[in-house]
Each structure stands twice: as C-alpha cells, then as structure tokens.
Symmetry: none
Subunit: 140 residues, 2 copies
DNA sequence: CCTTGAACCTGTAGTTACTACAGACCCTAT
DNA sequence: ATAGGGTCTGTAGTAACTACAGGTTCAAGG
C-alpha cells in the first residue's frame, strides 16, 4: 500500500481510533454524542470512518481529561483552539485557575502524607489495645 | 438561628452541620444512607439532631474525598478509626496501603503541576496567535 | 398562643463522564 | 459463501452526589 495513501487518507474504524488514541471504544461515541468530536463519514452500511488525523483531536481531549480539565473546560478550550483567533489570554486564565486547584490538592496531600507516615512509624505492628493510629487519625 | 442553650454539647440540625463542615445539605443524608455517618438522634417530629462533635467525622470524609479517596477507601479508613478490636498490625497494613495511595497521588499531581506551570509560563497571556497551552495539549 | 416561613422530612429523578450490555447488522478473510 | 469479529443503535448501569416535589416540623415574631 503506497505511503501517500497511508499518510493522507487511510480510513480507520472506531475501534482502531480508540486503540490508537488510547481510550475505550465507547468513549469515542460518547465524545461524538456530546459534540467534542465531529460526526465522521460513514460507510454505506453505517460504520464510522475516521481519518488518521482525527486521533489528534481525540488525544487533545484525552490529555486534557488526564490533566483534570472538565468536559466543559475542554469544550471551551477546543472552541478557542478551533477559532484560531487571538485568545491566549483567555486560555492562560483557564490554565492558571486549574493550576491553582492542583497546587491546593498537593498541599493537602502532603499534610496527609506527613500524618500517615508519622502514625505509621509509631505503630509497632504488635497486638496493642491502644493503637496510636486510631488517635492520630482524628487528631487533625 | 439554631438552638442556643449553652451546654457542653450543643445540638445542631442537618443544615447547620453541613454548613459547618462545608458541604451540601443533601450530602449529609447521603453519607448516612451509605453508612459513612451513623444515624443521628431525632426530635419527636423526626428531625435529625447532631452533636457538634459529629462534624469531625464529616470533615474527615469530605477532606478524604477532596484528596481523591473513594467512598470504599474512606469506609475502611473509618472502620479502622472506629475499631476497638483490630490489632495494631492490621491497622498498620491498612494505613500503609493508604499511604502508598497518597504518595502516588502526590507524584501524579506534581507531574501535572510541572506541566501546567511550564505551559503557563510560556503563555504570555497577551494576544498571541499560537498559544503554548493549546500546543502542549495538541502535541503528539 | 398562634401564625408564618424557613428548614426539615422522604423518596425519586437528574447529573457527570463514562462503561457495559443486548440484539441486530456489516465487513472481510478464508 | 460463510464464519467470526467488529460495529451499529439505544438503553441501563456506575460513582458520588445534587435537585426536586410534596408534605411536615420547628422556632421566632406578633
């Protein structure tokens, strides 16, 4: 099969797209349903036909989800990206807000880690009626 | 305003408990329904009566949820805390497992923070056509 | 006291972001 | 040409809440 066809127009099915992008088969259909992915072409029999390039947009969504962006955040991010207008300021604000939330979570988790480590170390592991873990969990 | 008889254990209503702990009114009922919060006392008319001490347990659950613990994880954490019969060894194992989960979450979030910080810094916030946030998400 | 209106009661349905069917149909390789 | 896998649709389930409807109770103001 010639390379020129591969790179520009090799059609792939839904399962193949999902596999390449690294998500569940049904997630593709779901994203189409909620309008994050455009409805693709169909075969005569009704099967979806994707282009290789379609996985780019899907990966964008999946990566955004992994980074903790919500669906609506991604929708606006995609709208901004699709618009190709000068919107870096808006995107910066969205990202900055998200970054703030992430940092708060890290702070909380570190505090919890400290607590758990501490009480874990104090616990001998023997059959002790009064375990320091129990008290420590409620200390904060 | 709620009951104001100054004793050592001021009773509070569901709404007040939710407000103090910082969650939705219905979340309290939900946690009771799934057994994370014990059924409280009731007035003659059927209204729930909480003690101020009850917000401690609720806050523990809420913080755990914010930190990404699932309900079942929290259930075992609470069982652990409630336990008066388990040996210290069993408690140690549970604590260690949770500590592992916490550390994994911290690692993941730090990586996410790094990514977001990086792409955020590259973004001037001005009127730039090519936004690094979008590029980072689009990247293959 | 009695009225009023906010808060509470129950059960059920909706939400988010998927994931898992069921039953029918399509597509391709042998 | 047929076997079998993949895909189609719609619907239902999941987690962890959140919102609502329709009714009851509580506590404060008159």
């Amino acid at each position: 099969m010639p390379i020129s066809f591969m790179t520009t127009s090799t059609p792939i099915a839904r399962g193949e797209l999902a596999k390449r992008a690294g998500c569940h088969l049904e997630t593709v259909r779901y994203y189409e349903k909620i309008g994050l992915l455009p409805p693709p072409a169909r075969t005569a029999g009704g099967h979806r036909i994707y282009k290789i390039g379609d996985q780019r947009r899907l990966r964008f969504i999946l990566r955004g989800r992994e980074l903790g962006f919500g669906i609506e955040e991604l929708r606006s991010l995609l709208t901004l990206a699709d618009s190709k207008t000068q919107t870096c300021g808006e995107i910066y604000d969205l990202t900055a807000a998200h970054l703030g939330a992430v940092r708060r979570k890290i702070t909380d988790l570190k505090r919890l880690e400290r607590t758990l480590t501490q009480i874990s170390n104090e616990c001998s592991g023997g059959a002790v009626p009064e375990c320091p873990v129990i008290d420590a969990l409620w200390a904060d």
